[in-house]
């Protein structure tokens, strides 16, 4: 990555496109704190977040999903979500001394919320299944559900609908739009141009580690540089 400068406006769905190897996933990993940048800054909601460990960035409200789902294999689907919830009583052992009575109460709340999120992505029936037994598409849904469970304000989605059948993909995208209307910000990488052009309000094009251009979908579609480097004639 070099000379890459971009902004994502709140409460939008912004797309990130570019050829393979353009640095899309790398950029996401830098933003989420998984990779440390050599130079440059990452700002989120008025605060600098580069250099913070990934879990702190999550606590600030910025979360990322993995392109290849990284579920907790030997935990159940529900447990996967419960782990992703914001810190609750009983996650630190000191809580046993400070607030022992909150543990059971908060646990019940997290269960309720996890079940709600599961329902919203259509995985309710798989509640007590081991995550390792899910299909590829279901794991993608679980990945999204985990991100939502953390109560983020902005979600980085790395190819959220790649390899998912069209009906389910559509369902996921509708869910995303609904959440956007509720005030969440999405920044997503996607190779399916129909999806990107139809669902994103703003598109950023990345090429060889730098931002090539950005704009509304129609402008991007008509941009000769983009056609040249990515979309093709």
């Amino acid at each position: 990555m070099d000379g890459c400068s971009l902004q994502v406006r709140p409460k939008t769905i912004t797309g990130l496109i570019g050829p393979n190897g353009a640095g899309k996933s790398t950029l996401f990993n830098v933003i989420a704190g998984l990779y440390a940048p050599d130079r440059g800054e990452v700002w989120f909601d008025g605060q600098r977040v580069d250099g913070l460990p990934p879990y702190r960035i999550v606590h600030r409200g910025l979360i990322k999903t993995f392109q290849i789902p990284r579920e907790f294999r030997n935990l159940t689907v529900l447990e996967n979500l419960m782990v992703a919830a914001p810190p609750i009583a009983g996650e630190s052992l000191l809580d046993l001394f400070y607030r022992p009575f909150a543990i059971r109460r908060e646990e019940a709340k997290v269960i309720a919320r996890a079940e709600e999120v599961l329902g919203s992505v259509g995985l309710r029936l798989l509640r007590d299944e081991y995550a390792r037994n899910l299909s590829g598409g279901q794991k993608k849904l679980l990945e999204l559900a985990k991100a939502l469970m953390a109560r983020p304000r902005m979600v980085l989605l790395d190819e959220p609908v790649a390899g998912i059948n069209p009906t389910l993909a559509n369902q996921i995208l509708v869910t995303i739009e609904k959440l956007r209307d509720e005030g969440l910000t999405f920044f997503l990488v996607e190779h399916d141009m129909d999806v990107v052009m139809k669902r994103c309000e703003w598109i950023i094009v990345l090429h060889q580690g730098r931002t090539l251009t950005e704009g509304v979908p129609d402008a991007i579609k008509a941009n000769p540089e983009v056609i040249d480097s990515y979309l093709g004639a």
Partner: protein, 326 residues
């Protein structure tokens, strides 16, 4: 000696060492079974617990003839605070070695703890003024030592004490792994980076797992010292670490109850070998001599078979199903 007395001694001879092994394995299970941390220095943490307890409960020893001594307190401590300190020292040692290595890849913890075990053994052996060196620390008291005469009565009491402590450790472990804390540990075991990406601090969680696991090992060490009545630098060989892993893998990594079962099954086998030797001795002396090695070969074979065909152990990790919302 009456038959009952003999029977108690026999039972104690099996139950106590097996129970001590179970407690060690419970500590290791939290680190390995639940958190996926490869602690290769189990023997060191047990040994440090044993030595701490031994030094505190025997007081400062000064032998004018051989001029060796150890840094115990002027008067021997009561047993319960000594156990507490032993646990604390083992836990602190674990945390101390974990802080620089936990941030690195998993392998480094294994290397560091393996080295630590050897360092600890050599330090105990050579720092004569600190630990008594190669001299054995003797006369380590047993619980209720003042009221119960040595022999079968003392062994019987020790069986009860050890069993109570093992049950306590089991209950504590089952409780801890069901907390949100335990769930987070399992998430880290499955995929540390992914856990970090949903807001978990792996370093802090792993440090807790190390501290508690090592404290339990220190507890087992204190009991071992008390039971044996003496400690020596070589009482805690690296083989102990291996044994603890066999117990955890056999019983079921990630399942405290499985580990308890694994501990008794494992020790039953070793104990049977020891008993067998008595009978074999009359028939074939050579076979009797080799029985120990055959025992270890069989353990190795069983371990390989388990890893190949039943890696989850005798009692696999349970599926944790949170209560349904009403």
């Amino acid at each position: 000696m009456s038959e009952i007395d003999y029977l108690i001694l026999q039972i104690a001879g099996f139950v106590i060492p097996a129970t001590l092994l179970v407690i060690i394995a419970l500590g290791l299970n939290l680190q390995w079974g639940h958190t996926g941390l490869f602690n290769a220095g189990v023997a060191a943490f047990v040994g440090v617990g044993a030595y701490t307890f031994a030094m505190l409960t025997t007081g400062r020893f000064n032998d004018p003839v051989s001029s060796w001594s150890h840094w115990g307190p002027p008067t021997p401590w009561d047993l319960i605070p000594a156990v507490g300190v032993a646990m604390l020292v083992s836990a602190s040692l674990g945390v101390l070695i974990a802080i620089p290595t936990l941030r690195l890849k998993a392998d480094y913890l294994a290397i560091a703890t393996l080295a630590l075990a050897e360092i600890i053994r050599l330090v105990i052996k050579n720092e004569r003024t600190l630990t008594g060196g190669d001299q054995t620390i003797n006369y380590i008291p047993r619980p209720f030592g003042g009221f119960v005469p040595p022999g079968w009565a003392s062994d019987g009491v020790f069986v009860l004490v050890a069993a109570a402590i093992a049950v306590g450790a089991l209950v504590a472990m089952e409780f801890l792994v069901r907390l949100p804390w335990g769930r987070a540990l399992r998430a880290i075991r499955e995929d540390e980076e992914s856990a970090m990406a949903v807001g978990k601090n792996p370093f802090r969680l792993k440090l807790g797992s190390i501290a508690i696991g090592c404290a339990v090992m220190g507890l087992a060490g204190a009991l071992t010292a008390s039971y044996g009545g003496s400690v020596h630098p070589d009482s805690f060989p690296p083989f102990l670490t291996f044994t603890a892993y066999v117990v955890v893998i056999l019983g079921g990594s990630g399942n405290p109850r499985g580990v308890v079962l694994g501990g008794y099954v494992f020790y039953l086998f070793t104990w049977t070998t020891q008993q067998l030797r008595v009978y074999v001795q009359g028939i074939s002396d050579i076979l009797a001599l080799r029985l120990d090695f055959i025992n270890q070969m069989v353990i190795g074979l069983v371990l390989i078979l388990f890893i190949l065909f039943r890696p989850e152990g005798i009692v696999p990790e349970p599926k944790y199903i949170p209560k349904r919302r009403r």
